[in-house]
């Protein structure tokens, strides 16, 4: 089945130790998104790619970076995680035609910072 896959499902890192979260998709969608979701809160968009064009949200900290080496893969890099970065990170995709407003989400990576 076509889907959005996030690895790992759970990630534990130490304060200040760089961490990378990955997302892959078999939907062949042009657009990929990264969201941060804290407990009992709405998902908050960090940035998105339309093909290789990167779009950063104005309030996304510089500590968060992203790479999209090809259509299928997208990575979220947290350069120096702080305790406040502990959250669920969600990857999503959407197409740029047809039902382009609908987003397809992965299961998420829950990040803990010790």
């Amino acid at each position: 089945d076509a889907m959005v896959i996030q690895n790992p499902r759970y990630q534990v890192t130490q304060f200040g130790k760089p961490v990378t979260l990955s997302c892959s998709q078999t939907l062949n969608h042009n657009v990929m998104y990264w969201y941060q979701q804290k407990s009992s809160q709405a998902p908050k968009l960090l940035f998105h790619y339309y093909d290789k064009d990167f779009n950063n949200e104005a309030d996304t900290p510089d500590n968060f970076q992203s790479r999209r080496p090809n259509t299928s893969f997208c990575f979220l890099d947290i350069r120096s995680p702080g305790l406040g970065d502990a959250a669920m990170y969600l990857c999503a995709t959407s197409r740029d035609q047809g039902q382009r407003y609908i987003q397809y989400f992965g299961a998420g990576t829950r990040l803990s910072v010790l």
């Binding site: 042009n30 709405a42 998902p43 998105h48 197409r95 740029d96 407003y101 987003q103 989400f105 992965g106």
Partner: protein, 115 residues
Amino acid sequence: SQQGEEDPQALSIQEGENATMNCSYKTSINNLQWYRQNSGRGLVHLILIRSNEREKHSGRLRVTLDTSKKSSSLLITASRAADTASYFCATEPGEFWGGSEKLVFGKGTKLTVNP
């Protein structure tokens, strides 16, 4: 600023009962979507209603949209324990970039359906 606001924040009902969740938003929209999130999982798209539609059905789901009041409601009929999840409305704030719209999610309603 946040676009969608759901209420109630939490709802607990018995199996077989209907569940109604509401969403209010602030700016004009092209469409509004509802998503479900099971605990510790990603979001799943449920239904999309366009601004020129007033009501839409999908299985046990019924969504209404009142653009004059900037509000929407999601009704789940004959609820089941498996419907236990958080439900989010999502709107696009009218910005357009690339080929896809950005979504802004509300805080969600946590629904518990007791067996």
